[in-house]
């Protein structure tokens, strides 16, 4: 079968509201179908490979699937993170560790959470992610079987980070497998936490993750949300994130992409209370035939909001990257400060970049700016390094790392910054 919502026999029936949501999702997907390049938002990213008839829904978690060593950004001599592990989209409690959580905090598999937190889930699930207009959200909703729930009670200042690890795997004889997990994050007023997502592959098996994340940040909540996607170069990674920031809430996101045959991070953040601050930075390093799409929408709906975005990309070989960044300032969102910058470094003349920055401003007292640049390595700098005895390849790596460093340095958590820096270095010196 193709990647569709028709086969939902794997779903465990849930409460009536969930069944209604799923049915609605499947109906919407039946109408919308998979996005195609004929749609403006998908002009540069073609999901046609997902319409091939080999795709199957990943079977529910089996304890027999051993994902091997689990990644963490936390060094061994630090207190460990709270960690949820997913294999092929399904939560694996046996591999997860959430002991020692403060009172009122919830971190668990979404399906398990339905028992104790049904009301909270019902009040939030599907409220930000739009199944009626976004096909991948509709598909995810229609096939919703697993995911994670993170709840921070008001005022909780979480010391240890939360890590969500999603590992894809598959055997030689398996068909390409798809999964549709959901991350639901509800951060109470004045709470603070760091959430790190790892997406990786254990094997070379072709998989497709269609992830939907919903983030609710209450008044004054502070969320640091860092993601690394380093799946194998055969896999598809489709992630749609929708976040809402209440008054004075702040969100700091970072997207580090080195993996995937085709990946798309679509992030929509609504600054829905005065004084909210959204920072969204990222780096992508791609080569070979990789396709990497970053699509962002920062929606300034209320006055006095601040947003800033800095994305940097490095493309080698025949890699193709897309950056679509839209900053929307709604009527009345006065004193908005919205900045956006995308810079790409092309290491090969066969690489391709499509950058489409957009400002849409409906208020008059705002400070907004955007920019996009594409370039190659600075010949003067390269010669300077080589003239000092640094090999050509080493000199190139040094300059590429320096290019990327500017954005990674904006990660305010030093432990994560160091870990992401070393992941980027790993891309520069493969094998």
């Amino acid at each position: 079968m193709t990647l569709n919502a028709e086969d939902h026999s794997h779903l465990t029936p849930g409460p009536p509201w969930l069944e209604a949501l799923r049915t609605e999702g499947r109906c919407h997907f039946a109408q919308l179908g998979l996005p195609t390049p004929r749609q403006e938002a998908w002009r540069f990213t073609n999901l046609a490979p997902l319409t091939q008839p080999r795709w199957q829904i990943a079977p529910p978690a089996s304890a027999a699937l051993n994902p091997g060593p689990l990644p963490s950004v936390v060094p061994a001599d630090h207190p460990p993170s709270y960690r949820l592990v997913f294999v092929n989209g399904y939560w694996r409690p046996d591999l997860s560790s959430t002991s020692g959580m403060p009172n009122g905090m919830v971190l668990t598999g979404l399906a398990a959470a339905l028992i104790d937190h049904a009301d909270l889930i019902e009040a939030h699930l599907g409220r930000l992610a739009r199944a009626d207009t976004q096909a991948l959200v509709a598909l995810n909703t229609g096939l919703l079987a697993s995911g994670a729930l993170l709840v921070l009670p008001p005022g909780l200042m979480l010391e240890r980070p939360v890590e969500v690890v999603m590992i894809g795997t598959g055997g030689e004889s398996d068909p390409p497998l798809a999964w549709h997990p959901r991350l639901l994050v509800v951060a109470g007023a004045g709470s603070r936490a760091t959430l790190i997502e790892h997406h990786l592959s254990q094997t070379h098996h072709q998989n497709c993750a269609n992830l939907v994340t919903e983030l609710f940040l209450g008044a004054g909540a502070q969320m640091r949300h860092y993601k690394t996607q380093r799946e194998n170069p055969a896999s598809f990674h489709l992630a749609t994130t929708s976040g809402r920031l209440d008054r004075d809430a702040s969100y700091e996101g970072f997207l580090l992409t080195t993996g995937g045959r085709l990946s798309r991070n679509e992030v929509r953040l609504v600054l829905d209370g005065p004084g909210a601050t959204a920072t969204l930075n990222g780096a992508y390093l791609v080569r070979g035939q990789q396709h990497c799409d970053t699509t962002t929408l920062i929606d300034h709906a209320t006055p006095g909001g601040t947003s800033s975005q800095l994305f940097k990309g490095v493309l080698d070989d025949e890699a193709w990257a897309v950056f679509q960044g839209r900053v929307l300032v709604r009527p009345g969102a006065q004193r908005t400060d919205g900045q956006q910058l995308h810079r790409a470094l092309l290491l090969s003349d066969r690489a391709r970049i499509d950058a489409k920055p957009e400002l849409e401003i409906h208020a008059d007292d705002v400070k907004c700016g955007h920019g996009a640049t594409v370039g190659d390595l600075d010949d003067d700098a390269l010669f300077y390094l080589r003239a000092r005895g640094i090999d050509r390849d080493a000199a190139r790596s040094l300059l590429i790392a320096a290019f990327i460093t500017e954005t990674i340095a904006r990660i305010t958590d030093p432990v994560v910054a160091a870990a992401f820096e070393s992941l980027a270095d790993g891309w520069l010196t493969p094998g």
Binding site: D379, Y384, A387, G389, R392, L398
Partner: protein, 284 residues
Amino acid sequence: MMSAFCAALPDPGACGGTPPLKWTSRDQERKPEPMLEITNLHASVGDRPILKGIDLTVHAGQVHAIMGPNGSGKSTLSYILAGREGYTITEGSVTLDGRDLLTQSPEERAAAGVFLAFQYPVEIPGVSNATFLKAALNGVRRRRGEKELDAMEFLKLTRTKCRQLGMTDEMLKRAVNVGFSGGEKKRNEVLQMALLDPRLAVLDETDSGLDIDALRIVSDGVNALRGPDRAMLVITHYQRLLDHIVPDRVHVLAHGRIQRSGGKELALELEARGYAEFGADEAA
């Protein structure tokens, strides 16, 4: 008669028994093989010839100055010695210690002992000076078959060199040349030279962008690196640098050729009379 005739000749004993022939031999000991030998060098950029037959021999321990008007090919010569791409060598050869330089990559030349102090040192945001210097030093050491230095050994050596050159090691932490003053950039070049211990240092317009105090500090650093095993090629438009770095020989480069060579007094003459006699447009 006979004795008077004999008295007019130097007494072999008084001369220490050294026959005149020996002088030639000693002269050869002082200047054994040439270190840098440029022979009939022609080079162009695209279709435009820039160097039109340069001959230059520099021996170990010597400092040669190359002076010339703007556009004479001075910077082209320095870039060609360091191996920059974009120049076509149409004729001639360049050897360092008898080995062909022109077929080597810039990093090979650096290891062989060529050091170009840039007129405009390049700013490299995101790379710390310490990272850069360590990569350079270990790159050169690896090619020279020497042991690479670990972080501690590197820091110790660099601090020692900084002290010898009267520099603080504060600029090790900053990004390469980013936000450096003109003087700091040139001192950074001298520090790199001290660390890489070159055979041949080419100083391209080292005085440009320097006030008189910075010029003295940089020149002191360069002079501290003069030695019997090292040659220097000082490329400059103005004579004032040569007050501080006193050359053994001065060459005038104009229209892609060396027009005249002489001792250090030639620089003073040029300062007084300009390059007009070499057909240069001084206003350029």
